[in-house]
């Protein structure tokens, strides 16, 4: 498996990270080095082996379905780069 410039651009887009066109070939090369290293996993016989979902045998606990937190608008918005009238503000999404 080899990653080309177009694939690198697609991955960057999916990850929502802006990568300039001229940086794409080097990025693709880095991906290939790392994926080349990961390829050795293909040597392992994983037939019939379950993918790990939890490293310790445990069931996730369920909590009672009640409101136990909230009413913290000011604290929630405190660190926002742009907050107005009790909301997070972002560039226009809908025309």
């Amino acid at each position: 498996m080899s990653i080309d410039k177009d694939t690198a651009a697609r991955v960057a887009k999916l990850a929502r990270i802006k990568v300039e066109d001229d940086a794409l070939p080097a990025l693709a090369q880095e991906f290939n080095a790392i994926l080349g290293f990961i390829e050795e996993l293909n040597e392992v016989d994983v037939e019939g082996v379950e993918p790990m979902t939890s490293v310790t045998p445990q069931r996730l606990k369920r909590r009672v379905d009640v409101v136990n937190d909230g009413d913290q608008q000011a604290a929630v918005l405190k660190n926002a780069p742009d907050a107005r009238e009790g909301f997070f503000a972002v560039p226009k999404v809908v025309e």
Binding site: A15, K18, A33, V44, P51, Q58, N79, A80, P81
Partner: protein, 495 residues
């Protein structure tokens, strides 16, 4: 009394209770040392005023009697922990200016026990790195140097600032976190002790997430006993972390008896790596002899899937990171890029993340995105999770055969120079974690203990890996190793 900053937690606790000195005095000694140690770049956000207040409160509590073990102990806190009202930015530009409105469970527990926070510590950005060179704050520097050289050495990573601060006696101990070796590798590089407990022992709530199925916090200290004392205060069930273990926390310090007679210590043959320095092989053999002399039974064991752990890790950790780091979008907290007139919301995301994340973080987020993307999920992510199951089974098999702990080197080399790996390919840097990463993959406790110096005068560490939830037993074996190795060297002060 001078040099109070050099105390261990145990000695500080005992001395404060006897009235030999106060927390205020120890705290002041540490603050003075921190002021004089800017060359180490270990502390990146000071909290001196808060420290003085906490120390005064601790002194009142100690005087009243019945103060907990950590009461009055001045600590450094890794920047990955959210601390209320104090910058907590995971050494990333994307969290510039972020001051949490809440306190992580671990720091809450430490503060409730009376511990004092001196400030926040340098680290690799989002804990992704093995040399503390990916930090927005610049490199943290190891107080150790090669003999006859003034070249700056890495303290390791990602908990590089924690390791540097403890080794240089800027604080009595520090918190660290460990996703693939980030407590144990820097501890080994700086001649201190660090333990990563069993997955689920320490709450992850309020600790900035890197790879949630692997991340665990732990203490970085001057002695094994100190690790036991501090770990005790950090552990415990937390309903706010769904993977927190609802188990009683035993008295870890009481487990240190110095008696390991009849314990079975495994030596895994797969940890003999090609090209490993002879000094590390020799150190490992010494460790084996020390434990044998103390009455342990040494057995050769095999962990056949060791070879694949690093590759599986570099699928699983980036995959989880790509998901965890999706929250940094320039909307709710931290940095937002300056936008042009016509920029839409996607431009905001893309520009913000390109500016806010450093190169290594971007690389891992994108690798993670790729291995989770349609068409590759089974080939990469699911295969890595299957290999992870096999790695855990390897350990279960040896523990079922009666092995109590496993002895390995902590790192494949001593600390390297800052900048020396600059032109290496990323995979070369990843090899630092080769002996530690299996432990995270299997969710086990692992401790690094300083055991000797290499021929250049840099510290080397050994690692002991324990059974799940048996941190007490593990620390007892580590204490025996510590005593036998008799590592007392300290870096000569140049900073």
């Amino acid at each position: 009394m001078t040099d109070l900053n050099k105390l261990t937690i145990a000695d500080a606790r005992d001395g404060m209770r006897k009235g030999d000195f106060t927390s205020a005095e120890i705290t002041e000694a540490c603050l003075t040392e921190i002021d004089g140690a800017s060359a180490l770049n270990a502390f990146v956000h000071g909290t001196a005023d808060m420290a003085r207040e906490q120390a005064a409160a601790a002194d009142t509590r100690i005087k009243a009697g019945d103060a907990p073990n950590m009461c009055g102990i001045p600590l450094g806190i890794k920047d990955l922990f959210c601390t209320k009202g104090v910058p907590s930015q995971a050494a990333s530009r994307i969290l510039e200016g972020f001051k949490p409105e809440y306190e992580s469970t671990i720091t809450s527990q430490l503060f409730d026990a009376g511990a004092v926070m001196l400030g926040k510590l340098n680290m690799d950005e989002f804990a992704m790195g093995s040399s503390n060179e990916t930090s927005i704050y610049g490199d943290a520097v190891n107080p150790w140097r090669r003999e006859g050289s003034d070249a700056k050495i890495t303290p390791g990573g990602s908990s590089g600032g924690s390791a540097s601060a403890v080794a240089a006696d800027l604080c009595l101990a520090a918190t660290g976190t460990d996703t693939g070796g980030s407590i144990r590798q820097p501890a080994a590089f700086t001649g201190i002790t660090g333990i990563k407990p069993t997955y689920g022992r320490c709450s992850r709530w309020g600790v900035v997430a890197f790879a949630s199925s692997l991340d665990q916090a732990g203490p970085m200290t001057k002695t094994v006993r100190d690790s036991a004392i501090m770990l005790q205060a950090m552990c415990g069930f937390d309903p706010k972390d769904s993977t927190s273990a609802d188990l009683a926390v035993p008295d870890f310090e009481a487990a240190i008896t110095g008696d390991i007679r009849g314990k079975k210590i495994g030596i895994p043959k797969e940890y003999h790596m090609d090209g490993m320095p002879a000094e590390i092989e020799a150190l490992w053999a010494d460790g084996r002899a020390m434990l044998k002399d103390a009455g342990a039974e040494i057995v050769d064991i095999s962990l056949p899937h060791t070879k694949y752990a690093l590759a599986a890790y570099y699928v699983i950790a980036p995959a989880e990171a790509s998901s965890n780091l999706a929250r940094y979008d320039g909307v709710r907290y931290g940095h937002r890029a300056t936008l042009g007139a016509g920029d839409a919301i996607d431009d905001m995301y893309e520009k913000t993340r390109a500016e806010g994340f450093g190169a290594e973080v971007q690389r891992r987020v994108m690798i993670g995105t790729y291995v989770l993307s349609a068409g590759f999920y089974d080939a990469y992510y699911n295969r890595a999770r299957r290999v992870r199951t096999l790695i855990k089974q390897d350990f279960e098999n040896v523990f079922n055969a009666g092995v109590d702990a496993i002895l390995t080197p902590a790192t494949p080399s001593a600390a390297f120079g800052l900048g020396e790996m600059k032109n290496a390919d990323p995979v070369q840097m990843y090899l630092n974690d080769v002996f530690t990463v299996t432990v995270n993959m299997a969710g086990l406790p692992g401790v690094a203990v300083p055991a000797g110096l290499d021929k250049q005068g840099l510290p080397l560490g050994l690692q002991l890996i324990g059974r799940p939830w048996e941190e007490g037993d593990l620390l007892n074996s580590a204490a025996v190793l510590e005593q036998a190795a008799g590592f007392v060297s300290k870096p000569a002060k140049w900073w």
